[in-house]
Every structure is written in structure tokens, then in C-alpha cells.
């Protein structure tokens, strides 16, 4: 019996258990006459549906855990048994052989392969099949036993005074905790794998060279006699490029435009135009970054280069920091604007009224009262925007170029951490070279920086919210 069929059978069983247990609990009330509502509530603890859930969960959950556990480890047990039952001389010797051998056996069993090349694998097919059938039957039997005993145990506890509700609710709470753990554990897993691969990298390249070196040239040759056999892993040009594009140029574009549009929308716009303009601005946030990417590469970058040439800058590159930064800034505008909008709106109306009642004009009120009061929230929003901008990938991959220049000239091509990670990990790579591993070290740095920015920004925003609540 396959795992899927077993699970469906268990679900059916649980539904049946729910229905009969609920009916039984409902019958408690049916036979009796209660003096009052209070009497009824005090003599039957839980509503019938809770009894139903209680029995259904006991019937389902232990058996389900068994079946799911089996589907994770069962394949390995069957394979071990199969190989152990073969005569010693036909057993595969190395791990690679073993994998190939099992793949062939499974292929034949599932019908994807007509026959195995390896005669000993062919011989193992019936053995494998019979062991698998045996084990499946054992598991199905065990699951049925667990479901019956669990359900029976719960069924015997269904009594008017049995406290089914708290137990069911505790179970629900455990499920909720487990669901929230999934994303937390995934994050930990990602961080651990980043750290693990980064340690591998730092075995080959010193952290000092990586963090402070100014020469980035990760191309390492496969054979020692080829040109450029030693790569250079000084990541400073990448860090600089990331900051130059994401934190400087993009913010020069995004902060004034975002802030001014937020001021217009919160203070000057009529409710009607605010209703139309705010969603339109937010649509910008929904444009896929790859679309911004080719907008940057095909429209903005050539225009920037032509402009640079026309004002006499001869070494302007067709992939420039300016083009990528400006488009990234445009991408970030709705983000800055909506954070600033929230912060300004959160300033109590009493502040605004107080200032207006002093005879201040709207613009004096904004400059002297609203912006200072909303500043922590705005700063927090800008920091979040920076953290987003330095993690942004598509625009810089398409428009910023790959040359690791250490330059403050916005018309030159620079590269960023994210663009280099893409470059290092796309295509066929061997996972034991410093070149590939350096991507993980870059990722780790990026992760650490954005994490710190996010934590700091959120704490700023939170402190500010508390001040006005």
C-alpha cells in the first residue's frame, strides 16, 4: 500500500472518528433535562465538536507521524535490507556504485527501466520488491493499530466532564508554534550553510585580504600553467560599488523624491487626488525588478553615456554606476514615500492644529513641526530602503557592469556584491574552488550588513511609534 493511499485512509478514519465522537458527546445533553443554562454549562464541560476533534486527532496524528516518518527513512531501510540479502560478491563496493546500483533497481521496480545493465542489479529486483512489499504491509498494519488504539483511548475518555476543549486548543497552539518555527529554522539553515561555505573559502583566502584588499579578479584557471592561475579576492571594490549605487546614488534620487511626494500626498493633496495618486505610486513597487533592469540597461544607460560624452567626459562607460543607481532610486521611491507617509500621518493631528492655530502656514508647519516630529520614522524608512537597495540584484546585473573598479566617477562602470554573486554562481561551477566559494563569503557579508540595517531601522521605527501611542 502506498504512503499516499495510507494517508487518505487515515484521513477518512479521522473524519469518521470525529463524526461518531461528536454524536456521542451530543447525546450527553440529549438525555438530560437542565434546570438552567448555567446548569447545562457546568454539567457538560466541552461542546460536542471538541470531543469530535479530540478523538479524531488521537486517531490521526500518531499514525500520520508513523507514515510520514516511514516515507522519509523507509527507502533507505529497504535498500539496506536488499543489499544485505545479496551474496557478498555481488554487493556494490563504493558509495558511487551503490547509488548507481540502487538507481537501476528502483528504475526497474517502478517500470521506468525495461531492465538493468548490471546483472546483479537485475537479480536484486525481485528481492527489493518483496522486501518493500513486506515493509509496506508492516507499516500499514502498525498505522492501523496506532489509529485504532489512539482513537479507542480517546473514545473511552469522552465523558460529560472530560475537558476536551483545553486539550484540542493546546494541540492547535502547538501546530501554530511549529508553523512559525518553519521560517525561523529555514533562516538558521541558510545562515549556517552560508557560514559553512564561507569558512571553506577563508581556508583558501585570508579574511583580511577579502575584507580589505582592493583587487578583485576571481577568475582562477583550472590548470596551474594557464594564464591568471591565481585569483585576487579583495572585495573592497565590490563593497564600494554596492554602497555607491545602493546607498549613495539611489538615495540621492529616492530620498528627496519620496519625501516630497509623501509631503504632497499627506498635506496638500485633496482626498480625491490622494485616492488616485497613492495607489499609482505604489504600483511602481509592483514592477518586477527585471523590468527595471532592462529599462536601466536599454534606456537609461545609453542616455547617461551620451550625456556624459556631450559634457566632455570621454571615458564614460555604457554601463555606468549612475544609470543603475538612478533606476534603483526610482524603484525605491514608493518604499521611501510610503514609509514617510506613514510617519507623517502618525504625527498627532494636535501638533498640526497647534502649529496652524499659531498662524503658521502649511509649509512652516511641515518644515518646523511635522518633519522634525516624523524624522525618526523617516530615517528608519530610509535605512530599510538602503538595505533593500544594496540587496537588489537584477538592476545592477543588467546595468552596472561587472568591472570591479574602485572609482567615484558615476559615469564609470562599477560592480556590486550581488552582481558578482550572480556572476560567480551561474553556469557550471566546481564547488571546491575559491572562485565559487567566494560567492558565499560575499553573501555572508551582505546578509550581515542588511540584517544589522534592518534590526537598527526597525528599532528606530518602533521607538518612534511608541512615543506617539
Amino acid at each position: 500500500m502506498s504512503a499516499a493511499a495510507l494517508i487518505f485512509a487515515l484521513l477518512g478514519l479521522a473524519v469518521a472518528a470525529f463524526l461518531v465522537a461528536r454524536a456521542r458527546a451530543a447525546a450527553f445533553a440529549g438525555r438530560r433535562v437542565f434546570a438552567s443554562a448555567a446548569d447545562r454549562i457546568s454539567s457538560i464541560h466541552s461542546r460536542p465538536a471538541y470531543h469530535g476533534w479530540y478523538v479524531a486527532l488521537w486517531a490521526l496524528v500518531p499514525a500520520l507521524i508513523l507514515v510520514l516518518g516511514w516515507s522519509l527513512v523507509g527507502e533507505g531501510i529497504v535498500a539496506d535490507r536488499t543489499i544485505a540479502s545479496l551474496p557478498a560478491e555481488s554487493r556494490p563496493q563504493t558509495a558511487l556504485d551503490r547509488q548507481a546500483f540502487l538507481a537501476e533497481v528502483r528504475g526497474v521496480v517502478s517500470g521506468q527501466l525495461a531492465g538493468a545493465f548490471n546483472p546483479s542489479a537485475d537479480a536484486a529486483v525481485p528481492v527489493y520488491r518483496s522486501i518493500k512489499t513486506q515493509w509496506s504491509l508492516v507499516i500499514a498494519g502498525l498505522a492501523a493499530l496506532l489509529a485504532a488504539s489512539g482513537g479507542g483511548f480517546a473514545w473511552l475518555r469522552v465523558r460529560p466532564h472530560f475537558r476536551a476543549r483545553p486539550r484540542v486548543e493546546r494541540f492547535v497552539m502547538v501546530v501554530l508554534v511549529l508553523s512559525s518555527l518553519v521560517s525561523i529554522l529555514t533562516t538558521f539553515g541558510i545562515v549556517l550553510s552560508l557560514i559553512y561555505e564561507s569558512i571553506e573559502f577563508f581556508r583558501r583566502v585570508s579574511p583580511f585580504e577579502f575584507l580589505f584588499g582592493t583587487n578583485w579578479s576571481p577568475q582562477t584557471a583550472i590548470r596551474a600553467d594557464q594564464v591568471g592561475s591565481t585569483g585576487a579576492f579583495g572585495a573592497v571594490p565590490l563593497f564600494w560599488g554596492t554602497i555607491f549605487i545602493g546607498a549613495i546614488i539611489a538615495m540621492i534620487v529616492a530620498i528627496p523624491l519620496g519625501l516630497m511626494s509623501a509631503i504632497y500626498l499627506t498635506q496638500y493633496a485633496k482626498p480625491r487626488s490622494r485616492r488616485i495618486m497613492k495607489p499609482m505610486l505604489e504600483v511602481l513597487a509592483g514592477v518586477p525588478t527585471v523590468v527595471y533592469g532592462y529599462f536601466a540597461a536599454l534606456t537609461v544607460a545609453p542616455a547617461v553615456r551620451d550625456f556624459a560624452l556631450s559634457i566632455g567626459i570621454s571615458n564614460a562607460s555604457s554601463e555606468s554606476a549612475l544609470a543603475a543607481g538612478v533606476v534603483m532610486g526610482i524603484m525605491i521611491i514608493p518604499f521611501v514615500s510610503s514609509m514617510a507617509d506613514d510617519s507623517i500621518t502618525a504625527v498627532p493631528a494636535a501638533m498640526r492644529d497647534g502649529s496652524l492655530a499659531m498662524g503658521a502656514t502649511t509649509s512652516e508647519t511641515i518644515k518646523r513641526v511635522l518633519i522634525p516630529a516624523a524624522l525618526p520614522g523617516i530615517v528608519g524608512g530610509v535605512l530599510l530602503a538602503v538595505s533593500r537597495a544594496i540587496g537588489e540584484t537584477m538592476i545592477v546585473v543588467m546595468a552596472a557592469g561587472l568591472a570591479a573598479n574602485l572609482t567615484a566617477n558615476p559615469f564609470q562602470s562599477v560592480t556590486t556584491v550581488t552582481a558578482q554573486i550572480v556572476q560567480l554562481l551561474t553556469g557550471d561551477q566546481e564547488f571546491d574552488s575559491a572562485k565559487t566559494l567566494s560567492a558565499f563569503a560575499l553573501g555572508l557579508v551582505l546578509f550581515a550588513v542588511t540584517l544589522c540595517l534592518n534590526i537598527y531601522a526597525l528599532s528606530v521605527v518602533k521607538r518612534y511609534r511608541e512615543a506617539y501611542e
Binding site: S355, A357, M358, R368
Partner: protein
């Protein structure tokens, strides 16, 4: 008893002075809903005028018409005529910025700006350019805080945040902020409703001290407060002005049955 007679005589004399502000047949609408139907009142320059009435009777709405703070409400619309020293404040040539510099306002909840105590008081003089030197500004700030009865409590910590003061001190700071631009009229919208009794007593004393220098209009829920601080009282009910006259008269011998019912606590 003699005191009361004396106050009543004083009031009767005071009513003779020329009105600072006159309102005639003021109607206010919030969208379709009419909040005020035809209110006419004179505000005298050396008296405290109290507006009383149950919640939603329109007294705050009317107060906010006097310095055009209702302009900030999108749906509000006003009809009728309000004059400040004979000039229609709703006339096209009336600048709302100048009007609000002449008619200041103190709100229900103390709303100091999140700035230092000094900057809170200096706010008005700065935006209206009332001082050309730092020394002048210092004088204005000190004088305003002295008049608001707050100077002795805060003179050593003028650079502390205004929001760090107690509720009563914050409200006196707001009054200092309002008088720093030397207005002619001060509107107070339930200035004590968020304060404890001791802070309330201080504000009431302060209102008494300020009388004569500024025309003061105060909206209050508290009838004892109206009786204590005001010389003229207007009773509003359901958007209409029921009765307006000398405070002593209103509280001892109201002409209208509704006024009598309200001040004796039969509804409210």
C-alpha cells in the same frame, strides 16, 4: 453675597465696552449635516466668555470658526458673518495667517511640539518675525512664561523637551506659546478637561490673571468652571444658542427653561 453683587455690578459695567468680535447668524455644515444654525454672539475684549452646553451642541464648532480652524476640515462649510474689530474674518482679503496670529488658540489636550520648552514658546515669534535679536526673543519667551505662570518652574531647564512636562505644565506651556505672539483674543477649547483638579485650579487662576489683557473665550463642560472664570456665558444646545448673558444672571436667573434644566443637571 456681597461679593456676588459686586461681581454682577462689575459685569454689568464691563458689558458696556465695545465688542472685540461679533458673530452674526453663523451657520456651519459638515457635509450635509448642519452643526450650527444661526448663532449670534459678541465677544468683549476685557471679559472672559464661556460657552457651555452638552456634548455635540456646537460650542467647539463655533469656537473654531472664530480663528477659522474649521478651514482645516475638508467637508466643513460656514455661512454668516464674523468680524474682528469690524473686519470680516471670512472676507477674501483677510489673511488666515494674520488672523490666527491675532486670535490664538489653546486645545483640549495639551499639544506642545516635540521641541524644547524655549523653542515651543519661541515658535510663534519666530514664524511671525516678532524679534530681530536673540535677546529680544529671550525677553519674549521669558515674559510669556511669566504670564503663563510657568517661569519659576521651568526657568532652569528651558532646553528640556516640552513633552517631558506634566499635563498641567504642558497646558500652561501651550498658553505661553499662544500669548507669545501677543494675540488680541485667546480661544480655549476645554483647556482643563485632560487635567487633574490641582492643575485645573492653576489654569483657572491663570485665566483670571490674563483677563483684561486679552479677550478670552473658553469652551467648557464644567459649569462650575464657567461660573468661576467667566463674566459672560453662552449656553448652546443642539446647534443653537439658547441663551447668552452675564454669567451671574445665567446661573442664578436663567430666562430659558432649557438653560435652567441644564445648569441644574436635569440633562447634560
Amino acid at each position: 453675597m456681597n461679593d456676588m453683587m459686586a461681581t454682577m455690578t462689575a459685569n454689568a459695567e464691563a458689558t458696556m465696552s465695545a465688542p472685540k468680535m461679533t458673530a452674526r447668524d453663523v451657520k456651519v455644515f459638515y457635509g450635509e449635516k448642519q452643526a450650527l444654525n444661526g448663532v449670534s454672539i459678541d465677544v468683549h475684549s476685557d471679559l472672559v466668555t464661556a460657552f457651555i452646553g452638552p456634548s455635540g451642541c456646537g460650542k467647539s464648532t463655533f469656537l473654531r470658526c472664530l480663528n477659522r480652524m474649521n478651514d482645516t476640515i475638508e467637508t466643513a462649510r460656514m455661512e454668516g458673518n464674523i468680524e474682528l474689530e469690524g473686519h470680516n474674518i471670512y472676507a477674501p482679503d483677510m489673511d488666515v495667517v494674520q488672523l490666527r496670529a491675532r486670535v490664538g488658540m489653546v486645545f483640549q489636550k495639551p499639544n506642545p511640539f516635540p521641541k524644547s520648552i524655549f523653542e515651543n514658546v519661541a515658535y510663534g515669534p519666530r514664524i511671525h518675525g516678532l524679534s530681530s535679536t536673540k535677546a529680544e526673543l529671550d525677553t519674549i519667551v521669558e515674559q510669556s512664561l511669566v504670564r503663563a505662570g510657568l517661569w519659576n518652574e521651568v526657568k532652569d531647564r528651558l532646553q528640556d523637551s516640552g513633552t517631558a512636562l506634566s499635563g498641567g505644565q504642558q497646558q500652561r506651556l501651550c498658553i505661553a506659546r499662544a500669548i507669545a505672539v501677543d494675540p488680541e483674543v485667546i480661544l480655549m477649547d476645554e483647556p482643563c478637561s485632560a487635567l487633574d483638579p490641582i492643575a485645573t485650579a492653576k489654569i483657572e487662576e491663570l485665566i483670571d490673571d490674563l483677563r483684561g489683557r486679552y479677550a478670552i473665550v473658553i469652551v467648557t463642560h464644567n459649569m462650575q468652571q464657567a461660573a468661576r472664570v467667566s463674566q459672560r456665558t453662552a449656553f448652546f444646545h443642539l446647534g443653537t444658542l439658547v441663551e447668552y448673558g452675564d454669567t451671574a444672571e445665567i446661573f442664578t436667573n436663567p430666562r430659558e427653561q432649557r438653560t435652567k434644566d441644564y445648569i441644574t443637571g436635569r440633562f447634560g
